[in-house]
Symmetry: C2
Subunit: 429 residues, 2 copies
């Protein structure tokens, strides 16, 4: 006897919502064969029916997503509205309360309210799936939650914002500065009119907080993510990086060690011999380090209509197949509360770019400031010579603590021969 169809209601018919409708429509036969039952859309909700570009005539129409979440004839409520509050949150809560499974691509919602929502889903015996919220089409949540269930994970890190990676890649390839490339990216539709959410690292931080919870079985803690964006990266930094054997990427990095958790988002010098360095343009990548599997890297499109819809549909087919798992790997009441390591305790190597007056003895003052704060220099480059004028000087350090590095930079910034605020980029791996 064939199983009953899985009924799906989709809220939000923008880029990802439209993509999800199309993927479910275009792949209906394959999906039915793979799931052993049809997956059918029964209802859709959006602000307007105008200009959709696909056929929704067979579906119940709602202009109120919360009403659809409560009333629709659906097993699964798919939230593709966006935003951590407002309609998206209200609709997801209503759907869970009504005993429906929820699939969402909403990283802000999960990063801010994931724990409460996972409790609610558990209490109702339904799934809350969010593969599309992190790194788009890359199946990183499934990989962590299922495939690597035999591992204690040590670190997760990734390039999780395509806008930033596109900007950094284009700056390098074209030798252009940040502002120019951002403007071009906006014109091409790769960056939002208000790009701060992406370029200041908030989007990456949302995704990292989610990854951290599922990877380490800890409570979501978005507010303690250390976040720096890419606005201060210059074409000069990118050139020096290449010369030193690195490429600059905006990384989100989370690690669990000695009973503390580190979550940080910042521009990072990645060694050129690392595959991560070669993830370019709008592509995303996530690297997972487990105690058994060692390292697994996954690369793919982190955004866009179809790749994101692919992840949403993967979550739906899991439900169709009866796959139901705790939201963050373990039940919500087993998630640990782990203290955040102070960023000052971070240990790593650093790249520093100074603007120094080109005059005798000036570098001795810099070297002394480093020495006074126990920072050991690994290399120094001064290419330009312009006696009496400011020239860029770049140095890299051996491993030290963030506290020492910051103290050294504060001291260096106060030197008379230093003409601009020193720039620092962390080196990874």
């Amino acid at each position: 006897m064939p199983k009953e169809a899985l009924k799906v209601a989709i809220a939000g018919l923008g880029t990802v919502g439209g993509g999800t409708v199309k993927v479910l429509q275009n792949h209906a036969d394959e999906i039915a064969a793979r799931c052993g039952r049809p997956v059918v859309i029964t209802a859709v909700a959006a602000l307007s029916k105008e200009g959709l570009g696909f056929d929704i005539s067979g579906y119940a129409w709602y202009d109120d997503a919360v009403a659809m979440a409560k009333d629709a004839d659906a097993d699964v409520f798919v939230e593709l509205i966006g935003g951590s509050e407002g309609v998206a949150r209200a609709a997801v809560e209503a759907a869970l309360n009504a005993g429906r499974h929820v699939v969402t691509a909403n990283k802000a919602l999960i990063a801010h309210h994931g724990k409460a929502l996972s409790r609610l889903a558990e209490s109702k015996g339904v799934s809350l799936n969010y593969e599309a919220a992190v790194a788009g089409g890359i199946p990183v949540i499934k990989s962590i939650r299922e495939a690597l269930a035999g591992n204690t994970l040590k670190r997760v890190q990734g390039i999780m914002n395509g806008t930033c990676n596109y900007i950094l890649t284009t700056m390098r390839e074209e030798g252009l500065d940040f502002d120019k490339v951002l403007k071009d990216a906006q014109d091409l539709g790769y960056a939002e009119a208000d790009p701060s959410f992406d370029i200041d690292g908030v989007d990456t931080a949302h995704k990292l907080a989610i990854l951290t919870s599922v990877a380490f079985g800890v409570e979501l803690n978005f507010k303690d993510v250390h976040v720096e964006g890419i606005r201060h990266i210059s074409a000069v930094d990118i050139q020096f990086a290449e010369e030193l054997g690195y490429r600059i990427k905006l990384l989100g990095v989370a690690s669990r060690e000695n009973g503390t958790l580190e979550q940080r988002v910042h521009p990072t010098m990645v060694p050129l011999d690392s595959p991560l360095a070669h993830v370019e343009g709008v592509f995303n990548a996530v690297v997972i380090d487990g105690d058994e599997v060692d390292t697994v890297m996954q690369v793919g499109r982190g955004a866009g209509e179809r790749p994101t819809a692919s992840a949403v549909v993967g979550d739906i087919t899991d439900i169709a197949r009866g796959i139901s798992l705790p939201t963050f790997s373990v039940p919500a009441d087993k998630l640990e509360s782990v203290p955040t390591r102070d960023m000052n305790e971070h240990v790593g190597a650093y790249y520093v770019r100074l603007s120094l007056l080109d005059q005798p003895g000036v570098f001795a003052d810099v070297a002394a400031a480093l020495r006074d704060h126990q920072v050991s220099m690994e290399s120094m480059i001064q290419r330009a010579r312009e006696p009496g004028e400011p020239v860029p000087v770049v140095l890299t350090t051996h491993e030290t603590t963030e506290a020492n590095m910051r103290a050294a930079l504060d001291a260096i910034a106060k030197l008379d021969s230093v003409t601009e605020k020193p720039r620092m980029i962390r080196i990874e791996g």
Copy 2:
């Protein structure tokens, strides 16, 4: 009420079997939390108890894996013996017949008998999981079978043999020839005493045949995989590849197009700007192209005790969580039988290395042979000059058919000025 423990019997206590025992022992608490039930080993089978290095005193002992498959107090039978016939096959059949789930890392078994075994598993309502059989710790089967269920896949390709990738990487890094590096790899334990299974591409072909079936929903067809190994790759080829902007990798590539299937394993020139080119040493990688997700690449350790055990345990935790799927994405009777495209119809670009007598007019004969077979040259390099002596000459072609390329090479091989059999390497992407 807590769920009952999942009981596991493990056959084969070599590298991967031992790793699986250790992973299940060391991660018992985490696995129980993640699965909502304990996963316990109840029985083990091997040829000898000697020198295991881990404690099996709590488990029922069998020196006959088939007897264990029939009689053990176990829900899951884990086959880590190896080989496509003999005990491994008999034990897996016995376990399935006894209504037990089966987890295996045995690519030869699945490549040769996967279809019959999947029918048997289905008829008994149990799972047959084999994530560890392809690319070790990389969760590629789960990604294809579950995460990408909303896609029609177009192509899967990968570096799936760590021995070959280690040899090719070391040849490049050290500038050494194949025989020397193979010998070193054997001394280091990275290559078997009889390395033919790896270096002649058979191991990759097993994995590719499995990937092909699960990716395209087609019947396994190992015998029609076109297989070439890496024995004929020379240090000179690797140097020229680098100069031309490529790196040589042993790839398995499968694609479904126009109602035919292409499955081929051969050394391939991969462009340096592709992330695949930077997967080095013993690492494996699989690239999946879907019509919705676009491209997803996964990189990780394709072999070794712990990474492979990680994949085996992932398959076991899936069973503990009640995840049960058709072996090759769709039920066995829905797998399509798709004709294999003749390799002569393959279309691609080619690298050709000739040994030519350095004398006037000799290259004109080569160019004429290419022209006569509709092969269009893209570049030519002749570095050395030794009038009257053989020198290496390398050329690359634009896209052409394999049939044309082979006919051109046959004609070239017959020229008096050609002193060795021409070498050909396909260029991808």
